[in-house]
């Protein structure tokens, strides 16, 4: 691979510019409403954090290359060329101060999908050598080892052995023709092994066939976060190959936000064809089981609890009602946060922010938005469906001395599971 240079970066910007982007740049009237929608601005009000401003270098490339006036200005030497120093300065805006949460895209009065634009701009940032170290490390490990956190298969196998011993349930690997291929995030393998146990229990109890794959167990996609389609394509291809090899009907994306975006929305476009299987988030699968009567629960949580919507599930994924259906199965005192659902505020650490050490300070500032939402509610338990949100929430709560347990939705459901007599051909 040739060296990462300004020239490559600008060429990548040009390659990324499409009709929607040109339309968005043409439509912006600098009304500033995107700033008010962005927690990196509201909690840290520097005008440079305004979402549309994060696109400024790319806007100039668009203007200079793809508009008559811009071309004229450039020919006359009036256009200000984009420099390497400028992109270096923008790294902080494009990565540390954006979690690709999509709130700006949801409020823009002229309809600009700013998140879509920033995702594309990151491609040029990578090509010009201005991506953060932390994300480069995660992406390199993801490509070379198969996990952004360097988790290898034996680690998963070890966790599986624990689960099999503790539950007596078989956790199958490489079972051809299974209905579900279960994908995980490294976060779950390292920090929350109870997730795998919970999903296994629920699927087995529902009489469904399911499997893990020894070829590929990682659903997260650092390529999407850093903004490299090449890396993203490589990572998603591994999932696709594993799924097609095992001839599964559905691949289950784990409790992770961006993994869902990667697998569900970007994946088919990265490989240039539709899948031969369905891709669903675990919460979607659980809700389907509920509807089919295969997921029955008993008892209720006593605590007053609320649900933190992961951005990629609601705003960028349309998974809004399902977690609520599931929570209502097991909770009598479930209350909604202000702005819950499609307009919920980000935890502050999505879109690669958590893997980017340069963003450690700003992500805690951004958490103040969540703190305000939680302070209004005074709940006893916070439920979510994304391991990355969960870590950020736990860290933020701890730093702000708020005593509130954070629980994964799938685990909570598993704790109330009613054992079914007829489990069919489950293994």
């Amino acid at each position: 691979m040739s060296a990462l240079t300004l020239e490559r970066g600008i060429n990548e910007f040009k390659a990324q510019l499409d009709a929607p982007m040109a339309s968005f740049f043409s439509s912006c009237v600098s009304c500033g409403m995107c700033a008010e929608a962005c927690l990196f601005y509201t909690e840290n009000p520097d005008p440079r954090h305004t979402p549309i401003y994060k696109l400024e270098p790319m806007r100039r490339v668009w203007e200079q290359e793809y508009t008559l006036v811009g071309k004229l200005k450039k020919a006359l030497g009036l256009g200000k060329p984009v420099t390497d120093a400028e992109l270096a300065e923008w790294q902080e805006l494009v990565y540390n101060n954006c979690s690709l949460c999509g709130r700006c895209s949801a409020v823009c009065p002229v309809g600009n999908d700013i998140t879509y634009m920033i995702r594309k701009m990151r491609e040029g940032m990578v090509a010009s050598g201005h991506a953060p170290e932390g994300l480069i490390g995660a992406s390199t490990r993801a490509v070379q080892i198969g996990s952004p956190m360097g988790v290898k298969l034996p680690a998963l196998q070890a966790q599986v052995k624990h689960i099999e011993k503790a539950t007596g349930m078989a956790v199958p690997f490489d079972k051809e023709g299974a209905e579900y291929l279960l994908m995980l995030s490294s976060m779950e393998i390292m920090n929350y092994p109870e997730y795998l146990e919970a999903v296994g229990k629920i699927l087995t109890n529902a009489g469904k066939t399911w499997t893990l794959s020894t070829d590929c167990f990682e659903a997260t996609n650092s390529g999407i976060q850093i903004g490299s389609s090449d890396i993203a394509r490589e990572l998603v291809s591994r999932v696709v190959n594993a799924a097609e090899k095992l001839k599964v009907k559905t691949v289950i994306s784990p409790e992770c936000g961006h993994a869902y975006t990667a697998l569900r929305w970007e994946g088919p476009n990265l490989i240039g064809r539709p899948y031969t299987f369905a891709a669903k988030h675990i919460v979607e699968v659980l809700d389907e089981l509920r509807v089919q009567g295969l997921l029955q629960t008993e008892g209720f949580e006593e605590a007053k609890l609320t649900f933190h919507d992961p951005c990629q599930l609601v705003r960028r994924g349309g998974v809004i009602q399902q977690p609520r259906n599931l929570l209502n199965l097991v909770a009598k005192n479930f209350v909604e946060m202000s702005d819950a659902g499609a307009m919920n505020w980000c935890c502050g650490a999505g879109g690669g922010v958590s893997a980017n050490e340069d963003a450690n300070e700003v992500k805690m500032k951004a958490f103040q938005r969540k703190k305000k939402q939680l302070d209004e509610l005074k709940v006893d338990t916070l439920v979510t469906a994304c391991a990355n949100c969960r870590i950020q929430l736990e860290e933020g709560l701890e730093e702000n001395e708020m005593d509130l347990p954070v629980v994964g939705l799938t685990e909570m459901i598993a704790e109330h599971l009613v054992e079914r007599e007829d489990k069919g051909g489950a293994s």
């Binding site: 680690a155 007596g168 736990e394």
Partner: protein, 149 residues
């Protein structure tokens, strides 16, 4: 003699909360060497003396244990260090023991499971018999405890 997790869990369920905390402390002490955080040992001491521990003392211990777990977890996208990760599971085991009564569903079992996980971490890349050794040890600890009470 306890031979399986089914028996193990059944026995644990019979115990009172205080007893669960005490026997759980024994489980966690067996893997305490895997954490570098001295605060965790103090948490385990509180659990071991659960009979005398006051509400305030338990609450403080729980807070400290949670802080220790948070400090030692691996962040999304960070490189994994399984040796350090063992400390995370030890802290989680300890925090299960001192969790408030309404949150504590099966403190001793949770402590046992996390302690095993901690033991496995050191050998994670070459999964072997460590898990069994740890659970066998836990069975014997529980038998001893049941004899003593």
């Amino acid at each position: 003699m306890i031979m399986s997790d089914t028996d193990f869990r059944k026995e644990l369920e019979q115990l009172s909360l205080v007893q669960q905390r005490r026997v759980g402390a024994v489980f966690v002490r067996n893997v305490l060497a895997l954490t570098a955080d001295p605060a965790v040992a103090k948490v385990v001491d509180v659990a071991a003396n659960a009979e005398e521990a006051g509400e305030d003392e338990l609450a403080l211990a729980f807070k400290n244990a949670k802080a220790a777990a948070l400090e030692s977890h691996t962040r999304c996208g960070a490189d994994s260090d399984w040796q350090a990760q063992a400390g995370y599971f030890v802290a989680r085991a300890a925090s299960a023991l001192v969790a408030p009564a309404k949150q504590a569903k099966a403190p001793a079992w949770e402590a046992a499971a996390n302690a095993r996980m901690a033991r496995t971490c050191g050998m994670i890349e070459s999964a072997d018999a460590t898990m069994h050794e740890e659970s066998e040890a836990q069975y014997r600890f529980l038998e001893q405890f049941l004899n003593d009470i």
